[in-house]
Symmetry: C2
């Protein structure tokens, strides 16, 4: 899995680099560990944000937090910091011997080409797979266009689908990996 | 739904009143709206915490936040502040003409007596139903004992089940209400 902070869009559709939210790292790492993800990549090109991510990991994996809450350590130990999605792909290619298939998620996916059942089939096939989530108002259009697959949006009981990325990750992992 | 801040337990099993986390209100309200919950009760007996919840609701439902992000307003408008779970039950009894059936959740439920399928059946039956989540390290044992039903814990792909309450709410609503 990867949580992307750039390029993402703001509420007006402009491409931005979003700030890292500490609770995203905690919640998504815990969900990733619960559902058996190999790694949880956090990508940001901003040096100060990379330093923030590194300090959070350091506190909870090696520092006082690891002693205070070992369950949190086990989760945050899945996090890998990378400057870009391309760097994630490169890292996975060297780890698994070939580049991953990529699946992007969005609450406003106009042209999805895979649903939960299709993604479940991909997961069961094995082979490196990268599930990509965006912060702020979602992944930039060029990232969505470049992926191998576009996952259909989560639907609830009506037209409202403004879940947090923390909720969306949890729900998709539960649907696909449990 | 209700998010309880007292009585809950800390990591040592001692009963405490947990502090309110702003992001709990946002994430859970957004999930509640997505999956069609009627109301999202937040309970705390602490006056300063009640004031905090009131100020968050005020900002996003009636203040500058409502203009900045109308989708957030629609979600946080579901929140009802109450001092205790008994006050929630009384409020629901006066709203629906009879008290709700209550379902408690916990990651460490030793004696669950309902699973997702059972809860889905309860929801479909109609009638007032209150789904109760705890903050900190979970609901106090006496709250769990008093409920009509104890929901089986969420299971992922292994022994690790340390999801945030934000993730747990999202997953349970998706399993039961979509």
């Amino acid at each position: 899995m990867a949580l992307v902070h750039h390029p993402v869009v703001d509420k007006n559709g402009q491409t931005i680099a979003a700030a890292v939210t500490s609770l995203d790292l905690h919640d998504i790492a815990r969900a990733a560990r619960t559902y058996g993800a190999d790694r949880f990549y956090v990508t940001t090109p901003l040096m100060d944000q990379q330093a923030l991510v590194a300090s959070i990991i350091d506190h909870w994996v090696r520092g006082a937090g690891a002693h205070y809450n070992p369950d949190r350590r086990v989760a945050l130990d899945l996090i890998r910091l990378q400057p870009s999605l391309q760097a994630v792909r490169d890292d996975m290619a060297s780890l698994y011997g070939r580049p991953p298939q990529t699946v992007v998620t969005s609450a406003r996916m106009a042209d999805s080409d895979i649903d939960d059942a299709g993604l479940r089939t991909l997961v069961r096939k094995g082979g490196p797979l990268l599930l990509i989530f965006g912060t702020a108002w979602g992944l930039a259009p060029e990232l969505i266009a470049q992926a191998d697959f576009r996952l259909a949006p989560i639907e609830g009981r009506g037209d409202y689908n403004h879940l947090s990325v923390r909720s969306a990750v949890s729900i998709i992992l539960d649907r696909v990996c449990r």
